[in-house]
């Protein structure tokens, strides 16, 4: 049996799985869609319940991945198809051109400044712009930019003479003639850790999301309070004012999706903490349905949040409307009837949903999607990471909504299964 492993997705789960497998002496092929590793977790300033600095937690692991001799990282890459069975899979991978040499670039950033093209920075949820050649955020790992071929004047042909970045680079790291590649990897098992997305808030007109209003989706807010984010952690409205009242709306899209995402209640409380910490006098009100705060430490976290004067309203049919310059949250208090809340800022906690490319992925893997659209676990089993294909494991939020510890545990579990299915001696 082939002892090497394919890991799809370099988020917190994929990284954990890769490091453990590498530690066992296995060769790991870590395939990441994005231009950097770290997934969603590195977008967070702090994580509940200990409000730990996320970067401090994950950065050492990112470094370890990039420095490990056993881990081969493929960025901007995706799985094309998967064939074979336990111990002998063949995975076809396509790798997009980065147009910047990972080998030569030393991450000095000399190329950003001269680039004439600015574009919305998706990593910052469009809250800031970056150049056509850039890293998504300060401290990105690897600290090497990529060129966006649609936007780059040279690459999209709008101005073939534009060589601004190439001229600025002293290390011949800019490779305009870089090409997409397709290649096959031979592996014994596969760990799918492709993560999640948030339900698009635009789907719900009742929350008045978009149009430059101060209504933010959870991930946007995470960036808004990240010290390496667009506002360097300053909590401000789009016009630069400090919000005096913030409404946080839970369960956005829960009904439609038909499940509870399990983490929103906690990160909403984290948001409240953060706001109270930065702006003690600010009014913060959370609009929730059933509070889902399972486990030994979460209740305490929640109670502490209440004790800071954060208001909790058990509400249904919550709506947001722009009202004389600000926002107004209108709701039905389940016990006390209708009410309104004037807010400078509203934060939405949308459902965690499968990544939009899950249908393709499930087809390429040959795995079914479950009724919710996530990659399906094997029915009748006890371990949700096991799938209908022996040797293919789905971990983290690709399998369903969950928080960081659960995602990590599932990644480690996949490693456990793999190392016992494909012991060293057979490899």
């Amino acid at each position: 049996m082939n002892p090497n492993i394919l890991v799809l997705g370099a988020g917190v789960s994929g990284i954990e799985a890769s490091l453990l497998l590498a530690g066992a002496g296995r060769t790991v092929h870590l395939v990441e869609k994005d231009m950097l590793i770290g997934g969603q977790t590195i977008k967070f300033e702090e994580v509940y319940p200990n409000l730990e600095c996320s970067t401090c937690m994950v950065a050492p692991k990112q470094q370890a991945v990039l420095q490990s001799a056993n881990i081969k990282v493929y960025l901007q890459s995706e799985l094309e198809k998967l064939e074979g069975a336990l111990g002998a899979f063949t995975a076809r991978i396509t790798k997009k051109a980065r147009y910047v040499s990972l080998a030569n670039c030393i991450g000095c950033g000399a190329c950003y400044e001269p680039c004439p093209v600015s574009l919305n920075n998706p990593f910052e949820e469009g809250l800031s712009t970056r150049k056509a050649v850039a890293v998504p955020c300060a401290g990105a790992l690897p600290n090497v930019p990529a060129i966006d071929p649609e936007q780059c004047l040279h690459l999209n042909g709008k101005d073939r003479n534009c060589q601004a970045c190439k001229e600025a680079c002293m290390f011949d790291a800019i490779l305009f003639d870089d090409k997409d590649e397709t290649f096959d990897l031979e592996v014994g098992a596969v760990v799918v850790a492709t993560g999640f997305e948030l339900q698009e808030a635009t789907k719900f007109p009742q929350y008045a999301y978009g149009g430059g209003k101060n209504v933010y989706s959870a991930l946007e807010f995470e960036r808004l309070f990240a010290s390496n984010g667009p506002t360097e952690g300053k909590l401000i409205l789009r016009d630069g004012r400090t919000p005096q009242s913030v409404g946080i709306i839970h369960c956005v899209g829960r009904k439609e999706q038909g499940y509870c995402s399990g983490v929103c209640c906690m990160y909403a409380a984290k948001f409240s903490r953060f706001i109270k910490h930065k702006i003690p006098e600010a009014k913060v009100c959370e609009f929730h349905t059933d509070l889902c705060i399972p486990g030994k430490t979460y209740q305490k976290f929640h109670d502490q949040t209440r004790s800071l004067g954060v208001e909790f309203v058990r509400a249904e049919s919550v709506g947001v409307a722009a009202k004389n310059g600000g926002l107004e949250v209108a709701y039905q208090n389940v016990d006390r009837g209708p009410g309104t809340f004037k807010a400078d800022m509203v934060i939405l906690a949308p459902a965690m949903v499968p990544r939009r490319d899950t249908p393709e992925l499930s087809e390429r893997l040959g795995l079914k999607q479950d009724s919710r659209g996530f990659l399906a676990s094997r029915r009748g089993g006890l371990s949700p990471i096991e799938t209908d294909i022996e040797g293919v494991f789905v971990v983290g939020c690709a399998q369903g909504p969950k928080d960081i510890p659960e995602s990590v545990a599932q990644a480690e579990a996949a490693v456990g299964k793999i190392l016992s299915l494909i012991p060293e001696e057979t490899g």
């Binding site: 399972p294 030994k296 305490k300 109670d303 456990g416 299964k417 016992s420």
Partner: protein, 561 residues
């Protein structure tokens, strides 16, 4: 042999020369004691750069190397590798950060140059005190002890046992299965049922690499990752005791249903037909849900969150098994009315909601309530409760089922003390890192799976068991050795006074007191090299390799020139 230090400044292309007058720096340091070579190079991390460095080390017969370039976080490992290839012990090398923390943050070239020179001087005088350090290699015992024969223990055993790895399961009771084994049916909505567990147990009994010791308890554990000595005693009459050696320990001691609630409030035990979830499970398993008077109940109240307030946490699983009860009751030929008294429905799994909706369709009544009391009034069970608005209401039922909080099993403290691992304020075992290391205990080589570290459902418990296996299988690879941290603490026995302050500040329990010598000792297999103990030792009897007082003092001196 005389000290010959080579100092190499990386230009990092334009990044450093733009901001730092490298030649001036080199002039400044070239005449210093022991400096055999002081040179610049365009890009030391490039392949020619590495080759150049390696050649220099040989050509100049360097005994120590200083590289002034980017942050050590970028390329320290790279250049240590170069040292190894050039036959120089990698710890005779010091990296000086003149890019991030100099060139890139000091706009004024003169100032940047001044500081760069300072940093490099510091590196030079520090590296002169570096001695060679070598990785220790520890041979390990790959076998594993699993404490607890519940679902987690079972799963861990199955994924760990192999012909190169023996596994022992210690189970206090007289049979495997734990709480899960007592469940009437598992999560039906996931298409799973109890037979799964039975099959697993049979598999364990067949596996000659797994030894099951029921009716036994661990009475003593000493040692560390790769080498634990465990003493086991059977709790039965003819107490037999034996010793085994393992490389890792999995704590899978599970949890129990809380029974400390006030019977005056919940009536359990002293009112007929008020039963606990566990008792109700047995009724389902026995296939007859009957009242004391032998009649089937016409109405059943399922009471959630018994003890949530007192314990201060939500036990996560109650909502779901209450739903399971409700479904079961409604599915029977003569369905009873079912009332669920809950505070907040906790349905975090993606399939839970569906299961709940199903129950609603089957006509289960859900009442969000607070301050629930169960009383006997004129021969009937009455559930008194306040609704969301705080209004008091009552409901009469034939039977009430309590869903009490999940709590740590007795003996957790004792085990924690034996293993030298902490419990948290809830009395469950504390994880090494609640976020990124959920199945490891602070002590390396000890792992925690399932409800031992807090309430979990079956899926999570199984995942945690597999996760613990993952961590063990990737660390204790048969035939492979462990390479513990090199830059660790060392104790000078002549200076140690045995005050044991160091023991109290070491989070990893890496330090032990040797009573016979009256001094403390660092366990090289466990020490992570944080230096807390070094900082805590008043007499300076402890020193941390690579961060000795002398080495840090040298850095101070140069900072103060």
């Amino acid at each position: 042999m005389s000290v010959r230090i080579g100092v190499y400044v990386c230009e990092c292309g334009p990044n450093i020369p733009d901001k730092i007058d490298i030649d001036k720096v080199l002039e400044d340091i070239a005449p210093l004691n022991n400096v055999a070579a002081a040179k610049r190079f365009r890009l030391l991390c490039s392949n020619d750069g590495k080759k150049y460095l390696a050649d220099e080390i040989r050509k100049e017969k360097l005994t120590h190397l200083v590289v002034a370039a980017c942050s050590p976080r970028e390329h320290e490992k790279t250049f240590m590798q170069v040292c190894v290839e050039a036959g120089l012990n990698p710890y005779l090398f010091q990296m000086v950060n003149i890019r991030e923390q100099c060139a890139w943050m000091i706009p004024d070239k003169a100032e940047a140059t001044r500081m760069a020179a300072k940093h490099i001087r510091a590196g030079i005088s520090r590296v002169a005190l570096h001695g060679p350090l070598s990785k220790k290699e520890l041979t390990v015992n790959p076998d594993v002890l699993i404490i607890g024969g519940g679902i987690s223990g079972i799963e861990a055993a199955l994924s760990l046992a192999s012909k190169t790895r023996k596994v022992a399961i210690i189970e206090r009771s007289d049979s495997l299965g734990g709480r899960t084994g007592k469940l009437s049916r598992l999560l039906l909505h996931q298409g799973t049922d109890v037979s799964v567990l039975r099959e697993k147990i049979e598999k364990i009994e067949k596996d000659e690499n797994i030894s099951v010791l029921t009716g036994c308890e661990v009475t003593d554990i000493r040692g560390f990752l790769g080498n634990f000595e465990v003493r086991i005693e059977s709790s039965g009459e003819e107490a037999v005791s034996r010793s085994i050696v393992v490389g890792a320990v999995v704590v899978a001691t599970g949890c129990e249903l809380w029974d400390g609630y006030d019977p005056a409030v919940y009536g359990a035990g002293n009112i007929d037909d008020v039963v606990t979830a566990a008792e109700f499970e047995d009724m389902i398993a026995a296939g007859k849900i009957l009242l004391k008077n032998g009649k089937p109940p016409r109405s059943v109240a399922l009471i959630h969150c018994v003890g949530r307030k007192e314990k201060g946490y939500c036990s996560k699983v109650c909502c779901l098994y209450a739903l399971k009860f409700a479904h079961h009751l409604r599915d029977s030929r003569a369905p009873a009315e079912v009332y669920e008294f809950y505070s907040d429905l906790c349905l975090p799994e993606k399939t839970d909601q569906e299961y709940f909706d199903g129950a609603v369709k089957k006509g289960v009544h859900f009442l969000r309530t607070e301050n629930v009391r169960v009383e006997k009034r004129n021969g009937h069970i009455v559930v008194e409760h306040g609704d969301g608005a705080g209004k008091k209401k009552t409901l009469e039922v034939d039977m009430a089922v309590l869903a009490p909080a999940l709590v740590p099993p007795p003996g957790s403290e004792k085990l924690a003390r034996m293993l030298n691992i902490p419990l948290d304020e809830t009395g469950f075992f504390k994880e090494a890192h609640a976020m990124l290391d959920p199945v490891a205990a602070p002590i390396e080589g000890v792992y925690i799976a399932g409800c031992a570290s807090g309430p979990k459902n079956i899926n999570e418990s199984v995942v945690q068991a597999q996760a613990a296996s993952g961590k063990i299988l990737s660390t204790l690879v048969p035939g492979k050795t462990l390479e513990p941290e090199v830059k660790i603490s060392v104790i000078n026995e002549d200076l140690c006074t045995g005050c044991q302050t160091c023991l109290s500040v070491c989070f990893y329990g890496a330090i032990s007191f040797q009573a016979h010598k009256g001094v403390s000792a660092v366990n090289e297999a466990i020490c992570r090299g944080c230096g807390s103990c070094v900082g805590s030792c008043p007499s300076g009897a402890i020193s941390s390799r690579h961060f000795t007082y002398r080495q840090l003092y040298e850095e101070i001196f140069e900072a103060l020139r």
